[in-house]
């Protein structure tokens, strides 16, 4: 289920806008990439086909894994890597490397320069107490860097933006030297109070760093997140530096290798807010890639759900390292403002995806209370599961699936990679010995805990938010989830599970089909009755439009293909939260602003009820927002004819498989490549898709639809 195998070519008819063929508007080839913690996935649209490729992620040089996966895809569409890349107009890459680095707290050693008196801002974290009763869940935030790496600097900007105390440049110089030489910091973050209002001290400190330690990567809090509330801004700055080396390793190696292999198209990256950003921006502000991989998947899920006529979808993605889930209601994703990483606030607005450490590489172990656990620690791709034979010694979820017979060790990657089942059995037995369990009991416990962890996450995004999961279809993708999707759904009473056609590379597919989207926001803070409001808004809008078009052009998108959605955020003076009000394309006039102010109480009471508008309080225009979107030419799938007669062709015989409860049973195995649209099987059964495996439990059935998705249904 892991490694470089493609799926079968899918016949595509028609692009989104024009028929494919010689038309210049039709891209010759597009590549979507998702660099995960364990696997690198690729989805290629070329010559009317969609093909996929998969390889192990190579953290020392991410480009190797990407190129290997592209190579696999190329071989499936009569291309070489070079010939495919030569035809490729754009390559968009999503990645989970930022999310993984932050959630596992694996990053560079950050040296911090901070306003004197406030070094403990990271410990206080805006108040670390969670709104929960349970005292056992109240902890101090983990130290992202040792307390000795936080250096206090005499300087102070105050609320009006003026400098009360000038920057002590000598102190900055000394602190930078100490951080480099004594503390052995690797990167820096500069975190001064009120820098979003006046960034002069942060910028000057960066100049000093450039003199003292020119090669150091520095993040200014005023650059990554120029917004009031220092703890969010400072965490953003620290995390941006913390994950920078990981991201640069991806960006640089990828760009260099692609160029060396003849790629001359546009390279861009997928942000956690659900749109593409340029390589330059990703390198400078790598934190924007937080939750990027899952954002690609969610985009793909919405496209697929629309095509299947489903509106409420519970999305699950399980790869090697993590399980990500989110709810899509009415085909709309949920955005979460002021996001947090492990309880530490970073302020950014990203898709609301719950991520837990449950993947194929999640390690089974014993915690300090002597209780068996699975995850959140992961074996990653190196050493990977024990059965890979790369030096892993602790059993993983994948090892349990191999021992249970769910994954065929002799046919892994079409038999190209031999899995060491014996080694997996030994590691699992060593784990089980802690509890006096035999092999079957140990395997059953690991799989059971994995399912429980994921069911809890799904419960959190549905029941915890007052949504009945039984009203949803589960859309399950990622290399590992088809093993578990039906079992998890049973726990929650969900009766239908869709495993998409390109399940194993679905996030890469989502990146490929996503429209171009970039969000821009500018703070203004001006009263709608201010005589200068129209001019101020006009100036800001002109600047925003220019920046958006420039960035779109850098991503290969012309002005004529771009569409702008404008909005303003309004509130009564004194409030801290705003209401979005859409704005037309035409300029805002003084009269228009006045009309907005007059209609605001009514709009406000529509949201919060009668009697709630703040009578007599002026209305403030706080932010101007712009979404630039551009339709991209995307592959559109044509339904294939149904053929119910394929079961025998797909029959690969039977295999002994450990079912829930620890009982062995002979179970029919089907070859996914030969399972045609319209055919169906009853459980228990296993469908071997080469780069993923579907487990159909005893009371479930599975059919293939006209788009070659698998639809599993619970038989009541």
């Amino acid at each position: 289920m892991f490694g470089g195998v493609t799926g079968d070519p899918v016949v595509i008819v028609g692009g989104a806008r024009t028929p494919h063929g010689a038309n210049r508007d039709q891209p010759r080839a597009l590549i979507g990439v998702d660099v995960g913690g364990t696997h690198t996935d690729v989805c290629v649209s070329v010559g009317g086909d969609v093909v996929r490729g998969k390889a192990l992620t190579t953290p020392d040089d991410y480009s190797s894994g990407v190129l290997e996966a592209i190579g696999v895809a190329a071989s499936r569409c009569n291309h070489t890597t070079a010939s495919l890349l030569a035809e490729t107009e754009a390559l968009v890459s999503g990645t989970t490397v930022v999310t993984n680095a932050l959630t596992e707290l694996r990053g560079a050693k950050v040296g911090v320069l901070i306003t004197s008196g406030f070094k403990d801002v990271f410990r206080f974290a805006g108040g670390a107490r969670r709104p929960l009763y349970d005292d056992h869940q109240q902890h101090n935030p983990p130290d992202v860097m040792p307390r000795t790496c936080i250096k206090e600097i005499d300087e102070r900007i105050v609320a009006d933006g003026s400098a009360l105390v000038a920057l002590n440049e000598g102190q900055v110089r000394q602190a930078v030297r100490d951080l480099r030489d004594q503390e052995r910091a690797e990167v820096l973050a500069i975190c001064f109070l009120w820098s979003f209002r006046n960034p002069a001290h942060e910028r000057r400190a960066r100049e000093i760093v450039a003199e003292e330690w020119p090669e150091a990567f520095v993040t200014l809090s005023s650059e990554i997140y120029p917004v009031i509330r220092e703890h969010e801004r400072f965490f953003s700055a620290v995390f941006n530096s913390y994950c920078q080396s990981t991201v640069v390793r991806l960006l640089d190696t990828l760009a260099d290798r692609l160029e060396a292999e003849g790629f001359a198209g546009h390279l861009s990256f997928f942000s956690g807010a659900g749109g593409a950003i340029t390589r330059e921006l990703a390198g400078r502000l790598p934190l924007l890639l937080l939750a990027s991989g899952p954002a690609g998947g969610v985009t793909g899920a919405i496209t697929l759900a629309k095509r299947m006529g489903i509106s409420d979808v519970l999305v699950g993605d399980m790869g090697g390292t993590s399980f990500d889930t989110t709810l899509i209601r009415g085909l709309q994703p949920i955005l979460r403002p002021r996001a947090e990483v492990s309880g530490m606030p970073v302020g950014l607005k990203i898709l609301d995806i719950l991520s837990i450490g449950a993947g194929g590489g999640s390690l089974a172990g014993v915690d300090s209370r002597g209780v068996p656990t699975v995850g959140p620690q992961s074996a990653g791709s190196m050493p990977g599961p024990v059965c890979y034979g790369r030096g892993g010694t602790e059993p993983t979820v994948t090892d349990a699936a191999v021992v249970a017979g769910h994954i065929d060790p002799s046919n892994y990657l079409d038999g190209r990679v031999a899995l060491d089942r014996e080694a997996a059995v030994n590691a699992i037995n060593a784990f089980g010995a802690n509890f006096g369990w035999n092999t079957e009991q140990s395997v059953d416990a690991i799989l059971e805990l994995t399912i429980t962890n994921m069911a809890d996450a799904l419960r959190a995004v549905t029941i915890e938010r007052g949504q009945d999961p039984r009203d949803c279809t589960m859309l399950a993708y990622g290399g590992t989830l088809p093993l578990f999707a039906a079992s998890i759904s049973s726990r929650l009473g969900i009766d239908q599970v869709v495993i998409p056609r390109n399940s194993s590379v679905f996030s890469a597919y989502g990146v490929l089909v996503a429209e171009f989207l970039r969000r821009y926001s500018r703070s203004l803070q001006v009263s709608l009755l201010d005589p200068g409001v129209a001019d101020e808004v006009a100036v800001v809008r002109a600047e925003m439009a220019r920046q958006a078009l420039e960035e779109a052009a850098a991503g290969g998108i012309s002005e004529s293909d771009s569409s702008f959605q404008w909005a303003v955020e309004l509130r009564f003076v004194g409030q801290t939260f705003e209401i979005d009000v859409p704005l037309g394309a035409e300029p805002l006039t003084t009269e228009g602003a006045q009309a907005l102010a007059e209609s605001f109480p009514e709009r406000y009471e529509a949201a919060y009820g009668k009697g709630t508008a703040w009578e007599g309080s002026p209305v403030m225009l706080v932010n101007v927002n712009l979404n630039l979107t551009a339709e991209r030419l995307v592959p559109e799938l044509e339904p294939v004819a149904l053929n119910r007669e394929s079961r025998e062709a797909a029959d690969k015989g039977r295999r002994r498989v450990l079912l829930a409860g620890g009982l062995w049973r002979e179970v029919p195995i089907y070859d996914g490549a030969a399972v045609t649209a319209g055919s169906s099987v009853g459980g228990p059964a296993i469908i071997d898709e080469h780069d993923t495996t579907l487990v159909v439990p005893p009371d479930w059935s599975c059919r293939r639809d006209e788009f070659l998705n698998y639809v599993m249904e619970h038989q009541r």
Partner: protein, 737 residues
């Protein structure tokens, strides 16, 4: 849904879908959360938007809670008490959709204190009253002699502020113009106060809209059924938890500090918890009520007690009326500080007496839980959190706006050390037990909304009590009056002299203290390009009581040093490498590391294991005056929260198993006792408790004669006798695993 379906069905509710019940419960919780979010999103007050000093509830037509959003936990009591008060004043026939009612009086309408104003809205469905929405926030002002509802110098409740006895202030969704004018005429910052009320109306509107939408979907019958199912399920878990505590009587005493009447008073309160099967009784008693505002009133007493029970024992039980059913509360006769009546001033009811209730309830729970046969219950033992709170509310004219403004700096109330847990050290930003969802307003938010300059916010090392797990540390902060000529208002602190207790031999934490400084070195330092710190600020402290009204001028500084939580378990058994790491990071000071933990580090900060072992042995000898005669139990048999055990009808040492006499006796009598004044002892250790001239506060440590371990440290007042041991029922005399 393994964990849900394994719940057995409450007898009278045999036929229901457990998943639907869970979805309904979550929907109720979600509705109250959304009410809270609405309040935050519509509010203009940092007390709401940053500190989350608010709560929201939905109640059914029996006036029983069915959903509660837990930003401020002690509000668990105020909604139903407020609605019961409303129903004393109005009949149901007099109510209509679009009505809203205002409550804020601890004596007559269920409020914690006058500053926490509540808004109640009856919800109608098909013309029938089916539910109630309740929302409360700390309102920026309520008039009276204090500012923002804190009247430190008030001598009766009549001078504390406006007191609303559950009255209608809104009809047909229109704010009554009469009430609007009356309120505006009586408060500082009238438009901010009216906007606070409008925000609360927005919150109860949201609850109404969401609940009606749910009723339209599932129907009233289904809704009522699941209200009862979920109350029954909560009640069942509460009964199971109580039954897991040993039957018997557990007692704890604490003191409320108040110095606003001339002499510094210590007012005694005692909490007795009696466990009988799956029933709990909490009996509170206290000194006679006084003419200072620290008197407790029933809403705050009940709220603090229940909230502590929830954080410690019912931590996972959905909050609804089922919580209350197995518990009997006895507040004794009226006229005491736990059950005061008018004219007693009560604007600090929840902080003054209320937070001592919190501490004593936590203590009796720790005593009982440590003797439970159930390991999961023993794991819930915790020390006392700091609960020593500096509060100030000020008013003046901010030069930026030119208009009067009310300031309530909340950040100092957040950086208070939390209770040490069996599973982890206490949290540094725990605040008080009741402040579940409190946030520390950003420096930038505080400085943009109030005429202040914040000079620092830092961890104060070693303020957390020493233990195997350590109490959370407190924060020191200073803020300067900046951008206004002068401000005046209230200052208070009811916890400078009586620090929080540890448990199972853990040490007390530091208490909170503050100073108001004038003539600091600020201007000189700034001129030199420096920012002031705790050591360089200088200045002259105003000679004022801890609880009073103050006037401060531009440049004056409030310098606050918060306390920490108590420790858990004998500090000599804390992982020495952890102490060394905390030492290097600066979370523990040198003297505490050496004298409380017996940890010796080399010049480079590395742990000196041999010297540490020697120092720890020496401390044991000093405790006993002679070398210990007994070996400690193997480390896996020592439990972090268990200082004393019961076996075979006798007390025994939790660290070595030495016999401490029959359970009818006080195990303390079998120990070596060391009584020391807290203030001077702490001063030597770099910790802090304010000294007390008449009747010093003492700590009483009890060491096992066999092994020299510390089993229990009490906090008491000179002249008090030995604290009583739990009186266990015979059925609880033997512990079974």
């Amino acid at each position: 849904m393994a964990e849900i379906t394994t719940l057995a069905t409450p007898g009278e509710l045999a036929d229901y879908d457990i998943l639907k019940a869970e979805v309904h419960r979550k929907a109720m919780e979600e509705i109250t959360m959304e009410m809270g979010i609405t309040l935050v999103r519509t509010s203009g007050s940092p007390v709401v938007t940053e500190a989350k000093d608010l709560s929201c509830s939905v109640l059914d037509d029996k006036v029983e809670q069915i959903g509660f959003s837990s930003f401020v936990g002690l509000h668990i009591s105020t909604s139903f008490l407020g609605i019961r008060a409303l129903l004393q004043n109005y009949t149901v026939d007099e109510l209509a959709a679009g009505d809203a009612f205002i409550v804020n009086d601890p004596h007559s309408s269920g409020a914690l204190h006058e500053g926490d104003v509540g808004v109640i809205m009856p919800y109608f469905f098909g013309g029938e009253l089916v539910a109630w929405g309740y929302c409360s926030e700390h309102t920026i002002d309520v008039g009276g002699s204090g500012v923002s509802g804190f009247a430190a110098s008030a001598r009766d409740c009549y001078s504390e502020g406006l007191r609303f006895p559950a009255l209608r202030f809104m009809k047909e969704r229109q704010l009554s113009p009469e009430w609007r004018m009356f309120i505006a005429n009586n408060v500082r910052a009238p438009s901010a106060v009216l906007n606070d009320l409008r925000s609360m109306v927005a919150a109860v509107n949201t609850g109404e809209r969401r609940l009606i939408a749910l009723l339209e979907r599932i129907g009233l019958d289904e809704h009522r059924k699941f209200c009862e199912v979920n109350k029954g399920l909560s009640e069942r878990i509460v009964r199971q938890r109580i039954a897991a505590l040993p039957d018997g009587r557990f007692e704890s005493t604490d003191w409320v500090e108040y110095d606003g009447l001339g002499e510094p008073l210590l007012l005694r309160i005692t909490t007795v918890m009696t466990i009988d099967g799956d029933q709990m009784k909490l009996t509170f008693s206290g000194d006679p009520q006084i003419s200072g505002p620290v008197n407790g009133a029933p809403p705050a007493i009940l709220g603090q007690a229940m909230n502590t029970l929830q954080c410690v024992l019912f931590y996972d039980v959905p909050a609804n009326a089922g919580l209350w059913r197995p518990i009997e509360f006895d507040l004794g006769p009226t006229g005491t500080i736990v059950n005061s009546t008018p004219p007693a001033p009560v604007s600090f009811a929840h902080v003054g007496t209320g937070m001592r209730i919190d501490k004593t309830v936590r203590d009796v729970l720790a005593q009982a839980a440590s003797l439970s046969p159930d390991a999961r219950i023993r794991a819930r033992v915790s020390s006392q959190p700091c609960e020593c709170l500096f509060l100030t509310t000020l008013t003046g004219v901010d030069r930026r706006s030119g208009s009067p403004t009310v300031v309530f700096p909340v950040a100092p109330t957040v950086g208070l050390g939390g209770p040490a847990q069996t599973t982890d050290d206490g949290q540094d930003t725990y605040s008080n037990t009741c402040n579940l969802g409190i946030g520390m307003a950003a420096v930038e938010v505080d400085e943009s909304t109030a005429p202040v300059l914040i000079l620092w916010r830092k961890i104060q090392p070693s303020t957390g009590g020493a233990g195997i797990t350590q109490g959370g540390n407190g924060m020191t902060t200073a803020f300067q009056i900046y951008g206004t000529d002068q401000m005046s208002g209230t200052v208070s602190n009811n916890g400078a002299e009586v620090p929080p207790r540890g448990a199972a031999g853990g040490m007390p934490g530091s208490a909170t203290d503050y100073k108001v400084l004038s003539d600091t070195h600020f201007a000189r330092l700034v001129e030199q390009g420096k920012l002031p710190g705790p050591q360089t600020l200088g200045g002259r402290a105003q000679e004022i009581p801890a609880n009073t009204t103050v006037t401060v001028h531009e440049g004056d500084v409030f310098f606050v040093t918060n306390g920490g939580g108590g420790g858990l378990g004998d500090p000599l058994l804390r992982d020495a490498s952890h102490v060394a790491r905390d030492r290097a990071d600066g979370y523990v000071n040198e003297r505490a590391a050496r004298e409380l933990y017996g940890v010796v580090v080399a010049a480079d900060g590395a742990l000196d294991e041999a010297a540490t072992a020697g120092a720890r042995a020496q401390i044991r000898r000093e405790r006993l005056g002679s070398p210990p005669t007994r070996e400690l139990l193997p480390s896996r048999e020592i439990e972090v929260g268990v200082g004393v055990r019961v076996s075979g009808g006798n007390w025994s040492c939790g660290y070595c198993g030495d016999d401490l006499g029959p359970i009818g006796s006080n195990y303390r009598s079998a120990c070596v006792e060391r009584r020391r004044p807290v203030a001077s002892t702490f001063a030597e250790l770099g910790m802090k408790v304010r000294p007390r001239a008449n009747g010093p506060v003492v700590m009483c440590e009890y060491f096992c004669r066999g092994c020299g371990s510390c089993m229990r440290t009490d906090i008491s007042v000179e002249g008090e006798g030995m604290a009583p041991a739990p009186r266990l029922a015979e059925s609880a005399g033997t512990r079974t695993e």
